[in-house]
Amino acid sequence: MSRIGVFVCHCGLNIAKTVRVSELAEFAGTLPDVVVAADYKFMCSTPGQELIQNDIKKYNLDRVIVAACSPLMHEKTFRKVIANAGLNQYLLSIVNVREQDAWVTDSEDEATAKAKALINGAVYRARLLQPLTARFIDVNSDVMVVGGGITGIQAALELAETGKKVYLVERNSTIGGHMAQFDKTFPTLDCSACILTPKMDAVLQNPRIELMTYCEVEEVKGFVGNFDVKIRQKARYVDHSKCNACLACTEKCPGRGTSEWDEGLVKRKAIYIPFPQAVPQKPVIDRNACTYFKKGKCRLCEKACGQSAIAFDQEDTFREIKVGAVIVATGYDLMDTKPLVQYGYGKYPGVYHALEIERLFNSAGPTGGKVVMRDGREPQSIAILHCIGSRDKNHCEYCSRVCCMYSLKFAHLLKEKTHGDVYQLYIDMRAPGKGYEEFYNRLVEEDVKFIRGKAARVTDKTDNPDFAGKLVVEVDDTLTGRFATIPVDMVVLSPAMKPRTDAKEMARLFNLSTDKYGFFMEKHPKLAPLSTMTEGVFIAGACQGPKDIPDSVAQGTGAAAEALTIVVKDRLELEAATAIVNPASCCGCQSCVRVCPYGAPVFNREKNVSEINEALCKGCGLCAASCPASAIFTRHFTNDQVMAEMEGLMEF
């Protein structure tokens, strides 16, 4: 006989509006072994928690059931509540009457009936719950940050500042990310390099940050506090331990590759640093562009190098590191606009995408900061097209959040540099940040022409002789209700920000969920925006969804703090719900050993039975379900417990 208390939460009106809570509590009171049942407005609040704790003492309860929101929301909260009242924290059962009941129906009768069945199931299960003892593991105090854009840089610097060792892993040959491509940042028009390059340098100088450029994460094993990460150092063909960054090699190199940094607008050398302020300042060889790799001779760089640092025979190498927490800050890709043929990107040389324009503005860019088009002309009229691919069911349904603002920035810079006419074709102007609306107002007053209407087509075909040699943008000017044709020299597309093309693989690597667009999913959109379903792995910046620089930096700092909450501890409490083998039933078939992804079951040859190494077990239950002898129990999810719950659920 157990003594169960059932506590029904109203959650304000969230539950109480649809579920008849007092009827539910009354019903719970009639169930076997239930000695007290109560309902209260907010069970998670201080008075709600006290109510539970008082009843535990008053009625000498040994099991507690809370009918409230999802266990994913507050199971931990209520575990603490009962633990503080002296009960083992695993003697708790949460009934999800909010997310999976009250919120998904309008019918009071249906919701109340379902809630009764769910509570009945919980009572059946609760009677079989066992107290479990928490496990502790040692924590590795180092952190790995993946992605060397502004978010990752910020996170790494903050962590290093607290004295922790940080591995900053970046797949390019320099850190800096997209921000290093920009000339100015909105809305302050701060010079991007002036605020970014000192941080890049700070990373390089910080003895606690191990900068790993041209590296990719290959494999992640282990769990919170103890991740084992395998990292691939891609072959640079330059021995950076010898290189003194004189860059004589790049001068002599006859090879030509496409400059990724300049968005393909120009060529670069085969041995190169992406841009003059790159960190580190040491070059790599682009194998596909290198004359020696293609034709078997050249080696001019080798001759130019006084340090004998060129190493054509270099190969990818691997390294294992151990960290306690991981921050994923892998950023975004700009949507490829070629498939949107109506805008003529790739067809008309006068059509540019946002990152190309960023490079045209940049004094370190291909034009030295002059706005000249591919044909060498300076544009006298420019149309900036918002929402290319964003807010579009056919492409990216979401708003990319930053395009309105950077389009305004473009308009300002284009006005400043060309004195031409600048049009903005927008659906809605979104300027919700600090100083953003003011920036918008400023641009309005700079006589930028705002056309409310999504551009429908860009063409160079026109009957109008006045439009000869122009690109004509066709749009429904919704504010006049008329179809308009805008002749311009240059068209700038503001495309959607998308997840990295390999975000899916990254998600698998780090065991992250992705949202329906492929961005990494946070544990809770409001209360745990940087945490993920994998404990110890945090996300920050644009890999979670489109974000501007201030938000990315804030998240980088936030993720550093989150990671610190783990690595600051010496030991960490782990979920106690692990598997255990009953040696009397074990037939020694080793099915469990074969299926476990963590290598937790080990076969004891002396006793001829399997044993579970609890430190490695994550409690998934695969071994239990695979055991032909039913010799393995998954604590907290035993066959009896699960089937008892099922029985309870099916009774009503």
Partner: protein, 379 residues
């Protein structure tokens, strides 16, 4: 032929240079059109006019005459766009191109040739007074600037007489301008003829100066606003309602006759209210009249509704159902008042006309404040 719009930024630039620059600030929220008194009764959209102007799109000429410059939208605009300036400059651009509507041509023509909009003989300007009232001479307290409309429009002549009689009893020294006085030019500026306005302004400023006028008293709020905001002379400009309020407070005139529970409602003229900020003086006057009860309409003071007579509207034809003055009279009738008081010759002309066409003469009378005060004086 293509029906597509194409920006004509040179036109937009020209409008800006003509003084309408502030329209660039507009972000097309529509507060103006939502506020505009015309929106419930016509298709006119001031927002659309701004839109077309921003891009120099075709269609400006079809919209530009709709505005009566009531200033309601300007006061509400979240971006501080001086919409009336834009309207003026658009009209200036287009009126210069010979696009003045027929209905406005006679009034502008009359102004150009006779200095008044009513085709009145120049020498008959002061005939309404039959020589009873003094002409202004140096040293007098007030130059009483009678608006052309109170001089020539038969209905408004009654206002001229009532006001002059009050002045005569006030003990102030005052005089009328000579017949070389011309219209203040407010309407002609609003319809976009800036050159003519400058000519008229030069003439009148010359008169002020030559006569040595220190204080100018106006009966029309249009004169008041124009002198104060456009002329820039040295003389102090006072509206009749302000003076009247002072005269009553100081006891210089004493309206004592009991009107026996006369219900009066008051219509705020746009140029007295929103343009000049005078809301209390007229009401204080009405409250000081014995036996007069002030009953307010729904839309008053800063929220007052235009009569439709501003910005050249007085001379434009409007179809029945599109007349703001009709709506305003109906609103006045709904208060139960038997007198609709106001303090502007244009409003009087517009409202009087509506009372007649609505056959409401037996239910309500339109009166100027001066008329009501004069009627309350004994003897």
């Amino acid at each position: 032929m293509s029906t597509a719009l194409t920006p004509y930024l040179e036109m937009s630039q020209a409008i800006a240079e003509a003084g309408g620059e502030a329209f660039r600030k507009c972000y097309q929220c529509g507060t103006c059109t939502g506020t505009c008194p015309w929106s419930p009764v016509t298709e006119f959209s001031i927002r659309k006019l701004i839109r077309l102007s921003q891009f120099g799109y075709d269609g400006i000429e079809d919209l530009m005459w709709g505005c009566t410059t009531c200033k309601f939208c300007v006061d509400r605009c979240p971006r501080g766009v001086e919409i009336i300036d834009l309207v003026k400059s658009i009209r200036n651009m287009y009126a210069g191109g010979g696009l003045l509507p027929t209905s406005l041509r006679s009034f502008v023509g009359s102004l150009a040739s006779r200095g008044n909009p009513w085709s009145g003989d120049v020498e008959k300007r002061n005939d309404w007074g039959k020589g009873k009232y003094p002409l202004f001479a140096e040293g007098m307290d007030y130059l009483y600037w009678t608006c052309c409309t109170v001089c020539y429009d038969p209905r408004n002549v009654l206002v001229a007489k009532a006001s002059a009689e009050i002045l005569n009893r006030s003990g102030l020294s005052w005089g009328l301008p000579g017949t070389d006085a011309q219209c203040c030019g407010e309407s002609v500026k609003k319809v976009g003829d800036f050159d003519l306005f400058e000519r008229i302004k030069g003439n009148n400023l010359g008169l002020f100066k030559a006569g040595g006028a220190r204080k100018i008293l106006t009966i029309s709020p249009h004169c008041l606003a124009t002198f104060k905001q456009e002329y820039g002379g040295d003389a102090e400009v006072v509206h009749f309602s302000e003076l009247l309020d002072d005269l009553i407070r100081s006891g210089k005139i004493q309206p004592k006759k009991d009107r026996g529970g006369l219900k009066v409602t008051y219509h705020d003229p746009c140029y007295l209210g929103r343009h000049s900020g005078i809301y209390d003086a007229p009401r204080d006057i009405l409250k000081a009249l014995p036996g007069v009860e002030l009953v307010e309409m729904d839309r008053i003071r800063e929220q007052s509704m235009c009569c439709g007579g501003g910005g050249g509207g007085l001379w434009m034809e409007r179809a029945k159902g599109e007349r703001l003055s009709d709506l305003r009279v109906e609103e006045a009738l709904a208060t139960g008042a038997t007198v609709l008081a106001t303090s502007c010759p244009y409003c009087i002309a517009m409202l009087e006309d509506s009372v007649r066409t609505l056959n409401a003469d037996d239910r309500i009378q339109v009166k100027d404040l001066t008329e009501l005060v004069y009627e309350s004086l004994e003897g």
